[in-house]
Structures are given as C-alpha cells and as structure tokens.
C-alpha cells in the first residue's frame, strides 16, 4: 500500500474537524458538517482556508463567546441532520428558546454575527414576543434599558384631531368601551359586583379584549355594524357583492347618526355636531349617568345586537342586514319609582323595549323573541332591586 493510502485509512481522517477560537480565547474543535452549517464559518474555510489545523483556527467574531458558541453548536448539530420532520424541528426550537432574556439577547447577537439566519429569526421572534404587549416601563425593566427619554418624547405621537365628526363618533364609541372596562374593574371590587351578570361580563371582555381575528366573527359583526352604519362612506354605491350592507349605509347613516345623537341626548348636555371644547375627554360626556347604569345600558345594547344578529343568522340563513337601532323621539318615560337612578333606569329600560317593537314596526324580518324580552326585563329588574 502506498503511503497516501495508509494516510487515508487513519481514523482521524474519517471525521474532519474545524478549529475555531471563540472571542474569549477558547480553542474549539468541531465536526465539519456541524460548523459548516454557519455561513460565516463556511466562508472562512472556503475563501481563506482557515480552520484546518490547530495553529490556524478561525477566529470567531467578538459577539461569540464560549457559552454562546456552545449553544449555537447545539442548534447546528440538531438541524444539520437532514432527516428530521418539520414538527421535530419546530418542537426542538421551542424548547431551545427557553432561556432568560439576557442569554436570548446574547444568542441573537451571536447568531447574527455568524450569519445564521434561521437562528436569528427564531431568537428575534422570541424577543419580539417578550416585548409585545408590555409597557415601556416593563420593557426597560426586563432588558435593563436606561430611562433616558424626556416626558414630551414619551407622550407623542398621540394628538387627537377632533375635526372629523365621523372620527369623533367613533372615538365616543371607543371611549365608551374603555370606560366599561374600567368600570368592570371597579365593580368587581364593590360588593354590588356579585350581582352583575357574569355571562355579559365575559362576553364584553372578550369583545373588547384581545380582538383576535380568529375569534367569533359574529360578535365582532355586531360592533362593526354599529360602527359601520354610523360612518359615511362618501361614495355612490354601485352593484356589489358585499352582502347588501353598504346599500343600507346612506339610509342607515342618518338613522345611525340620529341614534347616536339621541343616545347622547339621554345625557342632556351633548349634541354631536356642536363642536366640543377641543381636547375634552370623551368620558366627560357620560358623567351624568351613574356609571353602573351606563354600563348596564351598554351591555344591554351589545347583548341586544348580538341576539338579533344570531337570530337572523339562524332563521334567515342568507341575508344579513344591519341592526337598526333607531330610538325614535316618542319614547315614553314611565315613572314608577321615585329616585334619580331609577328614573334614568326607566328611560333606558323603556327605550330598550321600544327598540324591539319599533324594529318590528319598520318591517324588518326580525323574529322578536318574546321570551328573550321577558328574560331581559327580569334580569334588569333583578339588577335594580339590588341598588
């Protein structure tokens, strides 16, 4: 046998290794296929011929210390094996990402300098997930970032433009939702809270909170229909395939505006089209009504919308028409209990009852569920008895 053949048969040549030196000076010997998974190392080997011996190791970038390199190698070692399924890889990555934020940052940095794009991707995603949903203060806390911004810088860019009446209307709706959320919190601490209907709380909370697109569209629909009929899409509607909703727009816009207007009118001071004092909080408008009552009103309205919509979906099957909420001006006020809260309550109570019956009057194909109405009335009465 020739000498070269003998050389070939030496066990060391069966597995080739690459020599690398981490930023903190440690010499490493890594299997070739594992190390070459990193594009940067690959380049150094191919273009510069480094790493083939202990005396000429590849110098790793500054951001790659021994600990980080070890993690990177673990990752490479797993993923460079070709036979693995996507599920396996995904599952490995999920486990792999579980580490404290400091190490996560370091790892992201190390992966970036080694040009290991896939690792950068998952570490970045993990970091973004950590940041997501947190306040600036919390973020500073987690990542030990300095608090070096001025107060002014912290407040921008939220400037309210109150010129567009449509936007104002929508702002009001949103403000209402916000208040509801707060009131819910407040009520939970008050004893009275136990008598609040749990079902609606959850409904509303899911309705307001985390509005993922994957959640029940039906609920979203009721809110959106309310919003949408209030808006004016200033165009002339042609034939189109979006469920006849838009054709009701112009017609319902007036009603919608009227409705919101009259809803606001329950609180005497406000008129939608009167220019409000610039910058005044939307919440001011609603201070007249007792918060608990206001909350109940809104909850009731949401409930009502949802019920009507779900009735339609089941009974009619195809057509979907906007919920017409017009409270007309000839509502009756029944006064049978003498104090302020009850008075307001009665107005609301009555208007809700009117709502149902006037809708029937408008000739919409609403299957008014009598039982529902009775249920609601009972529930409302229950609530008041508590007060």
């Amino acid at each position: 046998m020739s000498e070269s053949d003998l050389d070939m048969m030496k066990p060391e040549t069966m597995q080739s290794y690459i020599w690398l030196q981490t930023s903190d000076g440690s010499l490493q010997q890594v299997e070739q296929e594992v190390a070459m998974f990193c594009p940067m190392i690959c380049q150094e080997v191919i273009h510069k011929g480094l790493g083939s011996s202990e005396s000429h190791p590849i110098s790793l970038p500054q951001r790659v210390n021994t600990a980080m390199f070890s993690l990177v190698l673990d990752y490479c070692r797993f993923h460079q094996v070709p036979g693995r399924s996507n599920k396996e890889r995904k599952s490995y990555d999920e486990k792999f990402m579980r580490m404290d934020t400091k190490r996560l940052c370091e790892l992201t940095s190390a992966a970036d300098s080694l040009q290991l794009k896939t690792l950068v991707d998952i570490t970045s995603r993990a970091l973004a997930r950590i940041i997501e949903g947190k306040t600036p203060e919390e973020i500073r806390d987690i990542f030990h970032l300095p608090d070096d911004l001025t107060e002014e810088e912290k407040l921008e860019p939220l400037k309210n433009t109150m010129d567009d009446p449509r936007i104002r209307l929508l702002n009001r709706l949103y403000a209402k939702k916000r208040k509801e959320l707060k009131e819910r919190e407040r009520l939970k601490n008050v004893e009275m809270g136990e008598h609040v209907d749990e079902r609606s709380v959850d409904d509303l909370l899911t309705f307001i909170n985390g509005r993922d697109p994957k959640m029940s569209k039906g609920k979203k629909k009721s809110k959106k229909k309310k919003d949408q009929k209030i808006d004016s899409s200033n165009d002339k509607e042609g034939p189109e395939d979006f469920h006849d909703k838009e054709s009701h727009d112009l017609h319902s816009k007036q009603q919608g505006v009227e409705e919101t207007g009259s809803r606001e009118r329950e609180v005497p001071e406000d008129d939608i089209f009167m220019p409000k004092v610039a910058g005044s909080e939307d919440g001011d408008i609603d201070d007249e009504i007792d918060p608990a009552m206001k909350e109940m009103l809104d909850r009731e309205v949401e409930d009502f919308a949802r019920r009507l919509n779900s009735n339609w979906v089941c009974s009619l099957g195809q057509e979907r028409r906007p919920v017409h909420f017009s409270i007309n001006s000839n509502r009756t006020t029944r006064q049978h209990i003498g104090n302020d809260i009850s008075f307001f309550g009665c107005i609301i109570f009555a208007s809700i009852v009117m709502l149902r019956w006037t809708d029937v009057g408008y000739g919409l194909d609403v299957k008014v569920n009598l039982q529902d109405t009775i249920d609601e009335l009972q529930w409302l009465t229950q609530f008041w008895l508590v007060i």
Binding site: T108, S109, R129, R140, D147, L149, D212, G218, H243
Partner: protein
C-alpha cells in the same frame, strides 16, 4: 461596546442586556411588533430604541393590525397610521391595514407613496368600493393587492386591473356561505378581463361558478397559486378539476382546511355551535408568519408526513 448607565433603574450594576444587539438587529426585532406597538410602546422605551424607531428603514413595510388593547381611540389609530406613513419619507413599499383605513387616510398615503408595491386591507368598513378604487388607481406600481372583508365590486376590480398593470397577486376575500343563494361571476370575470399577469390568486368565500373559473384559467397563463376555499358554487370535478391540478402548482380547494387562514373563517349560514370549524386560539402578530413555511427552508428533504401548508 459595553455601556454603563448610572441610573437607579439598573440592576446590580448590570450592563443592559440589549447592548449586545446592533441597531439593524434591533430594528428587525422591533419591526415584528407591528406599527402600532412600535409607536405606542417601543419608541418610548429608551433613546437608542427611539432612534431605531424613527429611522425610515423601519417604515418601508408597515403593518397595522393589532388593536388588541383598545386603549387607543379610533382617531388615535388613524393618526398613528398617518404618522407611520410620514415616517417612511416616501419610501413606503408595503402596507397592511386592518380596520382603520378611512378614505382620507388612504388618499393621503397614495399621494405621498405612489411607488407602493403591496397594499393589504382587511375589515375596513369605513371606505366603500368607489373610494377604494379611486385610491388604488393612484398606485400604478402595485404588485400585490389584498382586500378582505371590505367592499369591492367587480366593476371596481376592472378599473383597478386596467390601471395596475403590474399586478401579480390578488386576494379578494369575503365571508363564505355553505349554500349561497346568488352566484356571481362579477369578480372572476373582472379578473379574467383585466389581470392577465396574475401568478397568485386568493378568492376566499367567493361565489364564482365554473364559467368564472374557466375564464380565469383561460386568461391567466402564469397562475401558480389558487385559493378557492369556501367557494361552494364552483364545482371542482372532472375536466375542470384536471385543468386546475395540472396548471396550478398550489391549489386550495373549496373544502380545504382553513387553519392557516388569518381571518375568521366561520361560515355565515352554519350553526355556530357545531364544531366543524376550528377557531384558532389567539395568535399574536409576531407569530403570524407561517412557521411551517419557515421550516421547509431548513430541511432539505421533502418530508410531507405531517400536513404542511404549502410553501409559496
């Protein structure tokens, strides 16, 4: 590189964890949060993050989706979007808006970013078909257009198709009906007539018939990806089925799973109490990227033992 700040916020005199990351990396991480979160939280964390968040490169692609917190008013959100468009300094290339697109906002955007390549709108009830058309014809370089759960008529699509000659990918999604009463080839024929360059088409929940589908196949020779989920009028059998499966590389049929569809796929006329359709759990913006797509790149082997969504 190591920076030490002598503020009481620092724990045990630690260096900031984040100091390890160069600005480009910070930028790409923060970008994943979506425009609203960047403007509302990220840019208020510290000076270096603020600098990164103000840089125009962060705003070349804008994604305004997540309104989870509802802390902000509608007007605020619209303002934020406007502000985001401003920050791009004309370099805006892609934008995706859910809910808050108004006519004024879109007009403003089209005016300052006429080089836009990708526009995706979803659940924008504040703008109608004509308004949308008016805006889109101002974007002649548009290559990707997705309009989901907004009003857009077949007529409008024709106008758009004639004006946006570079359109390669179109999505027009609406709520599906299991048994739709009225068929309509308005959309399909508009596409066939005016969008010959399409390579990717998504018509979720559309009411097109076989006629419409054939027209599309006739006119769009480059079509590679076709999503017809919840299009229950078209009948994908026999010759038509054959034609589709031969021509189209990635075909999503009417009854295919909707698990990777980003919107609520509940059918309008199906009893909600049935468990036929999966309601995905909450998905954060960060996770929206199709992870299976990601893993297809990693493995060299074509292992389709799991059900993977197709890579496209």
């Amino acid at each position: 590189m190591a920076s030490s700040y002598c503020t009481p916020v620092m724990n045990q005199g630690d260096n900031p964890n984040w100091a390890e990351l160069p600005p480009e990396l910070t930028s790409s991480i923060l970008h994943r949060l979506g425009a609203i979160e960047i403007l509302y939280s990220a840019q208020k964390v510290c000076r270096s993050w603020r600098r990164v968040c103000k840089d125009p490169s962060m705003w070349r692609k804008i994604e305004m989706r997540n309104h989870v917190h509802m802390i902000l008013s509608f007007g605020d959100l619209v303002n934020m979007c406007r502000h985001a468009v401003d920050l791009s300094q004309g370099g805006l290339v892609e934008i995706e808006i859910w809910h808050i697109a108004t006519y004024d906002l879109l007009k403003y955007m089209a005016h300052s970013c006429s080089k836009l390549r990708s526009l995706k709108l979803a659940m924008c009830y504040q703008i109608g078909s004509e308004g949308l058309t008016e805006v889109i014809v101002k974007l002649p370089l548009l290559e990707v257009l997705e309009v989901s759960y907004c009003s857009l008529s077949g007529e409008s699509l024709k106008v758009i198709g004639q004006s946006c000659q570079n359109l390669k990918s179109l999505g027009k999604n609406c709520e599906g009906y299991k048994s739709p009463r009225n068929e309509s080839d308005g959309v399909a024929l508009a596409i066939a007539e005016t969008m010959p360059g399409l390579t990717r088409l998504q018509l979720f929940g559309d009411r097109l018939t076989d006629v419409g589908l054939n027209a599309i196949l006739d006119s769009c020779p480059n079509l590679e990806y076709l999503d017809l989920r919840q299009c229950f009028i078209v009948n994908l059998v026999g010759d038509l089925e054959k034609r589709c499966s031969e021509r189209i590389k990635v075909l999503r049929r009417p009854n295919d799973s909707t698990h990777d569809y980003p919107f609520d796929a509940t059918l309008n006329d199906v009893d909600l109490s049935k468990d036929d359709y999966s309601y995905g759990g909450g998905v954060s913006d960060v996770d929206e990227m199709s992870e299976d797509e990601f893993y297809d790149d990693l493995s060299g082997a074509s292992d389709h033992s799991d059900f993977d969504p197709f890579d496209y």
